[in-house]
Amino acid sequence: MPRPDRRVVLSSIAAALAASPLGAQAAVIEGGMPWTADRAAPPPKIDPIGWRYFTSDEAAAVEALVDRLIPPDPETPGGKDCGCAVFIDRQLAGPYGSAEALYMKGPFHDGTPQQGTQSADPPAVHYRKALAALDKHSQDTLHKKFAELSDEQKDGIIHDLESGKVTLGGKPMAFFQQILKDTQQGFFADPVYGGNRGMASWKMVGFPGARYDYSDWIDRHNERYPHPPVSIADHPDWNG
């Protein structure tokens, strides 16, 4: 790689009156490759204690939901113990929950399935409305909050959400699809985000995680990769 010219000029061309969506500023770059230390920072590791977005009732319902979508089995914990509800809570408290990155200008109209989601509600609002409707539906039909139902009763309601029989006031199947996607993402994402505790899902399927070099393994055909998974923020050996 050629050595960059040291006379790098990197200057803001105007005062910062309005930040860009990425928070970066317009820049003039000339004379060599610019260098900005730690431009892309590693993700902060979330603190798993408490809730950042959900109320305690909402949290109880979501923990119940994720533990039926991904139930525990003798080898691998379920969605609740894997931290899927914590993952969803932290995601909803951040830019994902507010749909900060999405095109949210109106007017809002329902379109065809091929035109994609047209909801004016960002995910955090969607959860708030749907979870309230879920507990109400559960109380109305089974006289208990969703989290207090038996596994069989919970599964029955989830099947009704999946089929569109129960809508929770939104578009049919919308909340089922939303929470299923978010739960599975929490289950399989790096544990740094609060789900997939202990890399449980990666151990379950055989994914070695945040490794970056399989040069020695690419042509060892039909051999099981022998090393345990590692995460961005965790390694089995680090914790003794």
């Binding site: 970066a24 139930p71 949210m104 399989f188 070695p208 399989y214 055909h221």
Partner: protein, 592 residues
């Protein structure tokens, strides 16, 4: 009122592959050049750390490296009877943002198009008669030939260090390569990448069926390489975090890893980042571009005067700028008149999942590269007799599985529930023993009268400018082709020993939520006259001769390959014409 900057010789709109190539070529002519890029500067050492680049949620799911729809988007409808609605989150394709453009987040599949792809309408008419081409299909010849582009393909591949096995050297077919490819002047710069078990097994199964499998040409390098500019790249480590990610190993060809370090040493080159070009400025007659306006992050609008304007943004935004600036005549799908927005195309991708006995097969799907894989080309373009098939076009077939990232590696046998214990068990039992290549059948997408781009009447971007409106649907030709390719692919999976094969042919209507590829094409196509194209064979605007429009925007239709090698070749071809002809005699390079 825009504040006026000192004039430049050249203004380049967008600093991805084509912007970087044009800037580097024209900088060698001593021209004073500025490239204006909407997104941020990014580079390997500062932005892609091997300690945390392999983050599926951050980069693949939350799209950290991409344009945010909040910044700008497009609207979409299948046909004119529908109201187009905004694409609120990305789905069918991904739009890059920032220095490097699509060249940063691509998988680096580096394919040449077939010689017959460049003369598509004449070739098909000659072989099958004009009746074989549906009436509403608007495919046409490119106005440039494979032989003319060959040296420029070569230049781009040697810039990138592409790893592959030649199939045709100066007309002599080579064993182990693609026997259908056009003749190449010399071998690939580096040997083909290694193949994983699933990829190699596909090659074996395909050979048993009588096909001629070969390794996919890859811009993830098999070995260290120093390109002709003196920039060094490292060998790929098969990390499985390629497309949607930046490469922390200097192994994936990108503007950053091949050209920018040299370009930035030119004292006559300047890049402006986080600045969005809002308009191409024309003189009173509309026949000469005088520069561009852009807006920086403070909201200040600037005018950048220039003698030569190179449009090298992503396909959609090239077309949007042409429409907003009044370059040329807007296409009218009812009359067929006008060129800007015409012949929009994408890709027709399909796949089949192969489920194997997990006691006998272990594919380690996580060990892979972006452009790994074994492919066959028997069913691409016009490599096979289309007589009686009921369609034209085709695509390569390949076990081109690029990763085992678990959020997206969720293909499960038929009948598996979407959740619950049975889902969990199926994930556990199939992850290591399933072939699941997203773009296994990489089909062509030909152009039609009705598929086009214009400006939306309702929805606007953050500056209040109309969004591009995409009117797009699949036609029977593409759906029949997809079914045919998917059947052939499924046969190979069976030959590999799959116990269950689930076919996923492409179905209509075109769905903007379902990821295919980011290969959007057309809208300002190249051709032989102003009556059939927006650009001449050198990518020069027929209407505004000091404006050149780069990229897949110029493709009259899309072939059954990934487009980047052709985009790079066209950029070098266009740059050569500017350097050797235009700069000596500024004006039209082809008489209208």
């Amino acid at each position: 009122m825009a504040r006026k900057l000192p004039a430049k010789d050249v203004v380049i709109v967008g600093l991805g592959w084509t912007g970087a190539i044009l800037a580097h070529e024209l900088a060698q002519e001593g021209l004073d050049i500025v490239a204006i890029e909407r997104g941020p500067w990014r580079d390997t050492a500062t932005d892609f750390s091997p300690a945390y680049a392999q983050d599926e949620l951050r980069y693949r799911i939350r799209h950290e490296l991409f344009l945010r729809p909040a910044q700008t988007s497009l609207t979409f409808r299948n046909n004119r009877s529908q109201t187009a609605l905004p694409v609120r989150e990305w789905g069918a394709f991904m739009l890059g943002n920032g220095v490097g453009g699509g060249g940063l987040h691509w998988n680096a599949e580096t394919w040449r198009f077939l010689p017959s792809d460049f003369s598509l309408r004449s070739h098909l008419t000659q072989r099958y008669g004009a009746g074989a081409i549906p009436d509403d299909m608007t495919i046409q010849d490119w106005g440039v030939t494979y032989d003319e582009l060959e040296p420029h393909y070569d230049k781009f591949e040697y810039l990138c260090g592409t790893s592959g096995t030649a199939g045709n050297l100066k007309g002599v077919i080579q064993s182990g390569g693609n026997p259908f490819e056009g003749p190449r002047g010399r071998p690939y710069p580096t040997p083909a990448q290694k193949q994983g078990y699933g990829h190699a097994l596909f090659g074996k199964g395909a050979a048993e069926l009588g096909y001629k499998p070969f390794p996919q040409p890859s811009g993830n390098l098999s070995q260290a390489y120093t390109n002709p500019l003196g920039v060094e790249m490292g060998p790929c480590t098969y990390c499985g975090f390629c497309e949607w990610f930046g490469c922390a190993n200097y192994s994936k060809a990108s503007p950053q890893t091949t050209i920018l370090p040299v370009l930035l040493r030119h004292k006559n080159f300047t890049a402006r980042t986080e600045c969005e070009v809002t308009k191409i400025l024309l003189d009173k007659e509309g026949r000469h571009a005088t520069g561009v306006t852009f807006v920086d992050t403070s909201g200040t609008e600037w005018e950048q005067p220039a003698e030569l304007v190179i449009l090298s943004a992503f396909q959609l935004f090239n077309v949007q700028l042409l429409l907003l600036s009044g370059v040329g005549k807007r296409y009218d799908p009812l009359t067929g008149e006008g060129q800007i927005g015409r012949n929009f195309s994408h890709q027709t991708v399909s796949t089949a999942y192969g489920f194997f006995d997990n006691k006998k097969f272990n594919f380690n799907p996580f060990a892979a590269s972006g452009a790994i894989g074994m492919c066959v080309d028997e069913f691409n373009g016009d490599n096979f007799d289309h007589g009686g098939k009921g369609f034209v076009g085709g695509g390569y077939l390949g076990q081109v599985q690029t990763n085992g990232r678990p959020i997206e590696t969720t293909a499960l046998p038929k009948g598996t529930p979407l959740w619950g214990l049975k889902w969990k068990e199926a994930m556990r039992d199939n992850y290591l023993s399933t072939i699941n290549a997203g773009s296994a059948c990489h089909g062509s997408c030909y152009s039609y009268k009705t598929n086009h781009l214009d400006l939306d009447p309702t929805y606007v971007d953050r500056f209040g400018r109309p969004l591009v409106r995409m009117t797009m649907d699949f036609h029977d030709n593409e759906l029949k082709m997809s079914a045919y390719l998917t059947d052939r692919y499924a046969e190979i999976l069976k030959a590999m020993g799959a116990r269950e094969v689930v076919k996923k042919p492409r179905k209509g209507p075109y769905d903007v939520t379902d990821y295919q590829t980011s290969h959007l094409c057309g809208g300002a196509i190249m051709g032989t006259s102003p009556q059939n194209s927006a650009l001449n064979r050198y990518l020069q605007s027929w209407d505004v001769p000091n404006l050149f429009v780069q990229g897949a925007t110029a493709f009259p239709q899309n072939a059954g390959y990934n487009p980047t090698d052709t985009v790079g070749a066209l950029a070098y071809w266009s740059a050569q014409a500017i350097r050797s002809q235009y700069l000596k005699h500024p004006g039209p390079l082809v008489d209208a």
